[in-house]
């Protein structure tokens, strides 16, 4: 073990330390997420002007954009956690990746659903094979495969290893699929809602609550992943205790 006294981030890869940390961190993150999501959505839905072209339907953006953002970020987080597991073999990281899977899948589903609800009045159709929609649908399939592989393998370390490999290969193919979808059909989805490029297309009256909602969704994701990881750690602790009992018998 290292002899330095400098606290390292890797220490929280120890399940016991992670549990101790999240004991107080999780409620904090959870309440902050709830507050921000509530503020962002209420502000966005009730205290913003209607769009001159899209009317009030545009307000679904406060649900749609944050969930779409988290759908992608959840996968990126899974990828990072998988790499950490493969390289440094920290159990917490594998379990966090596992916990992020269902959350990301639900975020993708919310983005798809709200997109359909928004698309119906705008484009006159619930579903169009637009590159962005298609990419999200494919992303959802990747999430399904990832979750299914986790639940199919009994040995936890084998499952962590194999899902990590799948996550890495899947990431490459998800990016490829995205470009394939763009190549396949230049679509009718509007451009990115937020952009750092000059000439931004959105007024601050919209942007402020949107940022609040996005931060809220980010924290919500964090809270759900922390809670999920804690559940997984408890499950592993239980099986470890049972193993110990069996060995003492």
């Amino acid at each position: 073990m290292t002899t330095t006294t400098r606290p390292s981030l890797w220490e929280y890869a120890n399940p016991v330390k992670f549990m101790r940390l999240t004991d107080w961190l999780l409620p904090l993150v959870g309440w902050a997420a709830a507050a921000l999501v509530l503020v962002g959505l209420v502000w966005g839905f009730f205290f913003t002007p209607d769009d001159f072209r899209q009317g009030s339907t545009v307000k679904i953006i406060f649900l749609h954009v944050p969930s779409a953002l988290m759908a992608i970020n959840a996968w990126i987080m899974m990828l990072a956690a998988s790499l950490v597991w493969l390289i440094r073999r920290h159990h917490v990281s594998a379990l966090a990746a596992r916990a992020a899977g269902p959350v990301g899948a639900v975020m993708t589903l919310i983005a798809l659903f709200t997109g359909a609800v928004w698309g119906q009045p705008m484009w006159g159709t619930w579903w169009a094979w637009d590159p962005r929609l298609t990419s999200f649908l494919i992303l959802f399939l990747f999430y399904l495969g990832y979750i299914a592989l986790w639940s199919a393998i009994e040995d936890p370390d084998t499952a962590a290893d194999l899902t990590a490999v799948l996550c890495i290969v899947g990431s490459v193919f998800a990016v490829l699929s995205r470009y394939a979808a763009i190549f396949w059909n230049q679509g009718l989805h509007q451009g990115a809602s937020l952009s750092v490029a000059p000439g931004t297309r959105m007024d601050w009256a919209y942007k402020a609550p949107l940022y609040v909602a996005m931060t809220g969704f980010g924290l919500l994701f964090l809270a759900l992943v922390l809670a999920g990881t804690r559940t997984e750690i408890r499950a592993r602790r239980m099986s470890a205790l049972m193993t110990r009992e069996r060995m003492q018998a």
């Binding site: 084998t158 194999l162 899947g170 193919f173 490829l176 470009y179």
Partner: protein
């Protein structure tokens, strides 16, 4: 390495099902689609490239779950893992054997089925070329999926769920090349992208698959 290839080919021929099954499935699909869609030639010509590519993809999928599962069950995989050839090489050879027994027959049969689906004249060359370039990727990606699920008792269904999303780029570029060819548009771009995916998959995925196999063996 050559010995492994000849063994796998010999097994596919003797055990049956290797060559014939995928091909028969491909044929049945090409018969069922017009029965479902209707005999209108114009409609069939429009959807033929996609149907042929989806058919090839599903036919490839049929025999994938046996790629490593049989060797896993009878202990050969343990012995191959301790043999002097690298496991990455084993994966690559087995994917090649799968392509020779499944992918290549599909490539050769596709023009005949193209007639059934009223594929426009200029598209035949593109169809064969795109399948020739793309089906190896299907075998290699499939080998990765098969390696992930080799230890599972009912891995076949799960493997489809894992492999089919990975097939998306191959399918898109392959079918796009054929439909562009059918409309007389230049089809070189999707074809090159398809070749790129095949080359990249063949170069990198055997490593991932071999890693997955080692995990499953322990």
């Amino acid at each position: 390495m050559i010995a492994l290839l000849t063994r796998d080919l010999r097994l596919a021929i003797r055990a049956g099902g290797g060559f014939g099954l995928g091909l028969a499935f491909f044929l049945i699909l090409a018969v069922l689609v017009p029965l479902g869609v209707g005999p209108e030639g114009r409609v069939l010509a429009l959807i033929a490239p996609g149907i042929l590519w989806v058919g090839a993809l599903l036919a490839c999928l049929l025999s994938l779950d046996r790629m490593f599962a049989l060797d896993f069950e009878d202990g050969s995989l343990d012995l191959l893992a301790t043999a002097p050839i690298p496991l990455e090489g084993v994966v690559a050879i087995k994917a090649l054997a799968h392509w020779l027994t499944t992918g290549l027959p599909l490539v050769l049969a596709a023009p005949v089925l193209g007639i059934l689906l009223n594929l426009p004249g200029p598209a035949y060359g593109w169809l064969v070329l795109s399948l020739l370039l793309g089906t190896p990727a299907l075998s290699v990606i499939g080998a990765f999926g098969a390696a992930l699920t080799v230890g599972l008792k009912r891995g076949g269904l799960l493997m489809s769920l894992l492999v089919l999303p990975l097939y998306v780029p191959t399918l898109v570029f392959g079918a796009e090349a054929v439909s562009r060819g059918a409309q007389g548009l230049p089809a070189a771009t999707p074809l090159l992208l398809l070749a790129g995916i095949t080359a990249g998959s063949a170069a990198l995925l055997p490593f991932a698959a071999a890693h997955a196999l080692r995990i499953n063996l322990r």
